[in-house]
Symmetry: none
Subunit: 207 residues, 4 copies
Amino acid sequence: MQTRKPEIEQAILKQAEQEFYAHGFERASIRRIIKSSDTSIGNFYNYFESKDALFEALVGEEFNRFSAFITRHEQDDNEVFNKEIFERGKWKSHTGEILDQVVPELISRMIPDFNLRLVILLEGSKGTKYETASRQLLNLISDHFSDHAKEEGVEISRDLNILLAEQFLSGIIRIIKLHMDDNQKRNKLLTEFVLFFFAGAMSLFGQ
Amino acid sequence: MQTRKPEIEQAILKQAEQEFYAHGFERASIRRIIKSSDTSIGNFYNYFESKDALFEALVGEEFNRFSAFITRHEQDDNEVFNKEIFERGKWKSHTGEILDQVVPELISRMIPDFNLRLVILLEGSKGTKYETASRQLLNLISDHFSDHAKEEGVEISRDLNILLAEQFLSGIIRIIKLHMDDNQKRNKLLTEFVLFFFAGAMSLFGQ
Amino acid sequence: MQTRKPEIEQAILKQAEQEFYAHGFERASIRRIIKSSDTSIGNFYNYFESKDALFEALVGEEFNRFSAFITRHEQDDNEVFNKEIFERGKWKSHTGEILDQVVPELISRMIPDFNLRLVILLEGSKGTKYETASRQLLNLISDHFSDHAKEEGVEISRDLNILLAEQFLSGIIRIIKLHMDDNQKRNKLLTEFVLFFFAGAMSLFGQ
Amino acid sequence: MQTRKPEIEQAILKQAEQEFYAHGFERASIRRIIKSSDTSIGNFYNYFESKDALFEALVGEEFNRFSAFITRHEQDDNEVFNKEIFERGKWKSHTGEILDQVVPELISRMIPDFNLRLVILLEGSKGTKYETASRQLLNLISDHFSDHAKEEGVEISRDLNILLAEQFLSGIIRIIKLHMDDNQKRNKLLTEFVLFFFAGAMSLFGQ
DNA sequence: AATGAATGAGGGTTCATTCAT
DNA sequence: AATGAATGAACCCTCATTCAT
């Protein structure tokens, strides 16, 4: 009878994560993945239909999780970001409060959702159907930015919107990659980066 | 006699640019390049010694130009950035002047040096002697940022320094990729991005 | 499961032996080898890691066996060659005994160690880590000759020493190639050759 | 008008000599030859029809010269070798005379005819119609040996005959390669080798 | 006569995938 | 379910040779 063993599937996924992270989809080698997964090439194809299917299994879920994060974040905004300190013009005099309160809160919700698979999805999906997914994700973020801008009463160009979304995301990814195992350093840097980003963005919105 | 045809060399370079941009050095295929260049594999090697040589022909000059750009920029700072409007604290009340005067000047000097080949150099040079180039350039930029920070009397952490350099570079690259053939849109977006970036950075420095 | 078939490995080795013998390592073609071996290029690499590995599988063991032969021969000399008939001057009157007794004994120990793969090792290993092996073996042989000369109380020049070693080896190789499959003819010729060689050498030593 | 320049032809031949000597026919590269010959690939084919034709031009003449040498030598034998010292049985007591008189005379006639091209013909002609020519040449030598044997009243097997011919030739070639530029060393070694060879051969004939 | 651009077969090797066991 | 042998296209590159100039 055919009972797939979850531990094998997980081993493959775990090694695939390393491989795709290190080389991206196109340069990743199934041979290398199964070699570290303690199984065989043939058996690999019992668990995953193809290299593409493996990639999808790895990042597809992540894509959904991140989409959910965005949605959740949008709702949460009511609680966190839509405080009066973000009302037009006021934020400049509340940087201290933002630093002490808003940013930590933001980080605490974002961090758990950022992981290696998301990095793979965003940086190593070329040659995959997800190479457009990365863009879709960014659209979500940029929509979010766009909403914030509207709240500020500012019309922001789609180009700039997307650019900022990419910058925001790539910055956070970069920080995660930099301090994968050091929460303190990571949070410190994230705090600085978010502040930098908000200040920069607000200066545009504030024109 | 049958002479080396510039149109073939150009065709190869043009196609190589597309290929390296699309797949990076290692995944780029000479066969695909020559197929679009209307010549034969053997003849390719009459024009370029190897895949490496082709890559160098494409981005080597670009690397030198960009290095020169950084150096030049550092010198020009004396004229452009070291105006009194950048004295500590004053910049906040001079954003208008920065937008109207400083940024356009900055862009006018940067633009000619940014192109597709630079993107290839920075994003597709893995497996090449230039694979460290990206980091070298980032070091130049981060040194530059570091100097500016010192002028502001601020000590900036190495992590943040590098992060900002990466963000700055990736942002500019993104803009180039976005508006490869539309100078106006590109300049507009670059202007906004630089302003965004300066404002963000200054908010950090100003703490 | 589909197991590695010894007949394929053997077929490859057999064809490789022919190919390396015919063209030497560098000019040998894996495609030609697998074409005669009734398998595919890709499958070749399931059996052998590389052209180098194939060559090593073919001659590596042979190299060790031959080195051992030389060592063994040096030790056996005490029993076979150091008989009184080889005392200075006496050998000339004992050619009959040498022919009937010593040479057959010598040959009986040499023969099993001489084969086609040794020829490949010695003549077709250019471009391989074994390309110095031929010289190493010659050094062993010439050291051996040198010892014999000393026993005869004769100083022999290095040039002549090496020359004789080369001649001895090449002569034996030639005989192997000539009568690959006919033991009787091979032994007869080897006997004659060894006698010829000893007589010639002794005439030099006896000066 | 089409006048072939002898200096170009000679330059090509000279470089080809080096190339064929260094790599043998199959591994020799026409590109390398013309690169050192200060001409072009295309022009090469004005002078020589093909790689094969070039090889033939190089060693064909040598083959004829060497054939002539053998013939000449056979005639000269009447004067040199057919002296009474070579009468059956007597040679053993005339080694001194052979060394002092016969060998130097032999050498003086052989040396001028041995050169690089002959080495190429004998060792680097694989893949050429001359790879059999080398054998033909050896047949001439072995016929010569056979005649000497007959004069000694000895029947010598064809195998042994050819083997000795090969050994004789390869020995001499080896010496020439070893001391290409040192006449004294070369002659000394040749003397020793010829003595060695004669003594060995005579011991066979004398049985 | 002279040049070297152009050709395409062939070199060793890696790859994702299929299929016999 | 599991194994890994088998396949063949594709990788970069070299070669002798041809042919346009």
